[in-house]
Amino acid sequence: MSIVLLSILKSLALIILLLTGFAYLTYYERKLLARFHVRRGPNRAGPFGLLQPIADAVKAIFKEEIVPGHVDKLIYIVAPALSLIPALVIFAVIPIAPDLRLGGFTLQFHVADINVGLLYLAAIASVATYGIILGGWSSNNNYALLGSLRTAAQMISYELPFGLLLAAIILTTNIGREAGTLSLIEILNQPRPWWLWLWLWLAFPMFFITMLAESNRSPFDLPETENELIAGFQVEYGGIKFALFFMAEYISMITGSAIMATLFFGGWRGPFADPGTWYGPIVGFGWFFLKVVALLFVYIWVRASVPRIRYDQLLQFCWKVLTPLSIGYLVLTALIVVFVG
């Protein structure tokens, strides 16, 4: 029973954390983009505009609800939830701080420790596609249809290099152990030799590109190109339903950064983040937070500097460049694991 209670508390904490993260990520992005454009960004609501996300949320809730006459009502209403729920749920297997031990009680800072963690990430990330596809299709609008078709093709195409690179990372967990692991918690607890870090970082740019495409971020934001499709799949959505799609996109950015921080940069690990001490979790979460914020900065930096690419280039880049590259990386990793590790 206590496991259930603990899980409920952890789930609530995680959802609150992610939503706050989302709210301040929008602020962070607007501020940063403003700086890239030599503007000031939001600075009216509260000190430094810090209350802006809250004002936006209140506004979204009090908007009139419009359900256009030509849409597929049920799917149209359910679709935003379908895209938000996977975004919230995917974070469950990511450890955000080292364990806290108080007497005989151990508090772990992740919602679930399952032995197929990475597979779970890949699976839930695929489910997230449904919300966008169904939202665009049920809108019964030409722009929305094109947007959702593009999303479908883009997200499933980039899942391929994503999966291949994940497989390569799983391969590296074989080194120095009896067998590999899919659990993010175990991956973090396992020491890696220095050359393995270098080899992993070689895959980081590829992985980052697939994460950009998976979360529909610029320069891969073709599902919502405003100059050709107005807003793509979400053109018929307004108010809170639009906000939920927005939330899903931003939370998937946070999740993407968290995954990359965990796989490539040691997650909560850092100086003074010692498991088992009273200050360990605080310092560990601090490191994790810093790494995630730094990666989010790169997301926004890319958005501010790279122009959007054409749709055929997007798919060809995935199938003709990224996929062969990740297959090559996978094969080399396998050779390294068998002959060196």
């Binding site: 899980s7 995680l14 938000l84 019964n140 479908a152 067998a179 590999g180 068998v338």
Partner: protein, 119 residues
């Protein structure tokens, strides 16, 4: 490892789902309600909509989906192999080499056929 490990995920879903549901239903309680005909129309940048979206679309999207299914299943086969490569050693390497080789032929065939081209 038992199915109890997945209980927290179920709980998380059960908490996340009502949250999304409430968020969707809230504006219909709190927001103003004055619908009119113009608000109900499809958005086409101010033009009068001339057709709905239940229509044909380029077959390329379908091609991508079919290719995805083939190659994504390949990736799923890679996962258990990747976990146990330390036990399989060279045998696993050759085994997966054959599997990947066959798929690679298919991949090159698809490439030559121009499935990745986009008009």
């Amino acid at each position: 490892m038992t199915s109890a490990d997945y209980l927290p995920i179920l709980i998380l879903i059960l908490i996340a789902a009502p949250f999304a549901g409430i968020a969707i239903l809230l504006p219909s309680v709190l927001g103003p309600k004055n619908p009119n005909r113009m608000k109900q129309e499809a958005i086409e940048s101010g033009m009068i909509p001339f057709a709905d979206a239940r229509r044909r679309f380029p077959v390329q999207y379908y091609m991508v989906a079919v290719l995805f299914i083939i190659f994504d299943i390949e990736v799923i086969f890679l996962f258990p192999w990747a976990v146990s490569l330390n036990q399989l050693k060279i045998f696993g390497l050759i085994e997966m080499g054959v599997f990947l080789g066959i798929l690679l032929i298919g991949y090159l065939y698809v490439w030559k056929k121009g499935a990745f081209e986009w008009e």
